[in-house]
Amino acid sequence: MARITLDHIRHAYGPAPKSPKDYALREVHHEWNDGGAYALLGPSGCGKTTLLNIISGLLQPSEGRILFDGKDVTYLSTQARNIAQVFQFPVIYDTMTVYDNLAFPLRNRAVPEAEVDRRVREMLEIIDLSGWSKRKAQGLTADQKQKISLGRGLVRNDVNAILFDEPLTVIDPHMKWVLRSQLKRLHKQFGFTMVYVTHDQTEALTFADKVVVMYDGQIVQIGTPAELFERPTHTFVGYFIGSPGMNVMPARVEGSAVVVGGERIALDYSPQIGAGDRAELGIRPEFIRIGREGMPVAVNRIEDIGRRRIVRADFQGQRIAIVASEDAEIPAEPRITFDPAAINIYANSWRVGREA
């Protein structure tokens, strides 16, 4: 178990990177707490797997250092870092039995056979494969195989961290849920530092204490699910988290008010925006109230999704989404109001805090 420090990490796959475009990972500088459950969330190609492989030591960063508990491990091999990793597709040793698969990482580290046996049996119990221990791993189903890869990581109880690279991609939806709750339970039980890569926001939000959102080779926000929802620091986080995503519209800041099209909306603070910066207003659909008061909108379409309705509307030439409750009345000439506390102002896509 360890605290992981990422010290100005940059990585490029090609040699001699020049512009920021050449970097798969632009700059990551963060510290992750011991025993935390982190989810790395982002679209394909955002650099999350690169970052994971840098932590595990399968890749060496082009620049920067990585520290476990303050100790520099940048140039240590994967083996010396003592981490476990579970891959997207189950990696099992076909010709070995389930038991031998689990014993493999322990035997490689010359753990005494009695101890191997004890831990493997314990792990078989945990991953619910006790009855299969003598079977060849070849003929198992995808989720059983993935459980074995998981078990191979967990069987080493002294690992510094366990890394998951979209481990539930090949699993049935039902089994996904089962495996995810098993993972959460194991995390509570053992207190590993866990890093979980996914592009599925539900998976990330339910699994992790802290979600690390990545976009275009950099970390755009680290926060609890609530923080990501309420205070997205980057418009991308706004779009990516939540369904539907945050409404973002071009705006002009005038003192402690923001102007969208012809509407002027008062704020309870004055955002500081540079002269040439592109200003935007972001508000989640959940924080727009539709009724007879406020600013006029033109409703295009109403989608009923069970307990809520999503109203698609045009507001000052911008398409926006509004979440309304099932029984909310939508008048003929609807008007909307924004919850002032839920308005976020962005300059060049980055959030301008009220503190500033």
Binding site: N53, S56, L58, Q79, I83, Q85, Y93, D94, N108, R109
Partner: protein
């Protein structure tokens, strides 16, 4: 894949059937026909029953040739399979080296077999060949025309030269189809180089290795052209393999009956041995 039952599919197979009937069934029937008859020319044939088979099976010439064949195939497999695996493991996995290696290594496979023979015939000659001349210069008494052992070594080295690449290419294809994640997982599990080979690479190469063993066995057991060109079966009969003997008997001496009987025995031996290889190599799968 779920396949549908459809007997009309026979129509799709028909062209192949006609072709193979023409190029395999009719000749094979001719062979069977000859094998049970005797002739004194003039297109007169007499029923000979199993006489020719008994004659072949009782001739020392046949058994000696068979032994040579078996020994040759054994040596070839023992050399080429491990060597092929070893080279494939050490081939570059990316970059410009890959096509260069593939093209250069495949080169011997595309040389007509008698030219392969010619190349080595020349290469090994002590007067004008690089190999023979160099060995002579180093004081080695080497002469494949005179010495049976030298002839064998030359033919085996030639076959290694000619066919190891097939094993290399097959194994290489098996190796590159292994996803990176396996190697990464092995690193994380702390596996040694040997464990990676034993538990990841070898199991994944199993299928292609089966094909490599079968092909190399069949083709080495059928070898004709290359040794015929290099040694002509000599010195003495020391490199006379079954096929060389067979052609000598059929085309050279026109002993149709014995040649046909020998053909059938020869074919059956190949079928039997291939079947044994196949069963042995796939049975470990079924048990697991």
């Amino acid at each position: 894949m779920q396949k549908t039952w459809n007997n009309k599919a026979w129509f799709l197979v028909l062209p192949v059937l006609v072709l193979v009937a023409f190029s395999a069934v009719i000749p094979l029937m001719t062979v069977v026909n000859y094998s049970v008859q005797d002739t004194f020319g003039n297109n007169e044939f007499f029923w000979a029953g199993t006489d020719w088979f008994l004659e072949i099976l009782h001739s020392d010439r046949f058994w000696e040739a068979l032994q040579r064949n078996l020994f040759f195939s054994f040596v070839i497999l023992a050399l080429q399979i491990p060597l092929g695996i070893f080279i494939a493991l050490n081939m570059p996995k990316s970059g410009i080296g890959v096509p260069v290696c593939l093209v250069l290594m495949a080169l011997p496979l595309l040389i007509p077999w008698n030219v392969v023979g010619t190349i080595w015939q020349v290469f090994g000659r002590v007067d004008i060949g690089l190999l023979g001349y160099t060995l002579r210069a180093l004081g080695v008494d080497y002469n494949y025309v005179r010495d049976p052992l030298d002839a064998w070594i030359t033919i085996i080295v030639m076959d290694v030269w000619h066919w190891t690449s097939l094993v290399v290419l097959l194994c290489y294809a098996g190796l590159v189809s292994i996803p990176d994640a396996y190697y990464q997982a092995a690193k994380i599990d702390g596996a040694s180089r040997w464990s990676v080979f034993r538990y990841i690479q070898l199991p994944k190469m199993k299928r292609v290795l089966l094909i490599a063993v079968l092909l190399r066995f069949m083709d080495s057991f059928m070898i004709y052209t290359e040794p015929f060109v290099v040694t002509g079966g000599g010195p003495g009969n020391s490199t006379t393999f079954l096929s060389i003997d067979l052609v000598k008997m059929a085309v050279g001496q026109f002993d149709l009956g014995p040649a046909a009987a020998m053909s059938i025995i020869y074919f059956l031996i190949i079928l039997l041995l291939s079947w044994i290889f196949y069963t042995v190599m796939t049975s470990s799968d079924a048990n697991g």
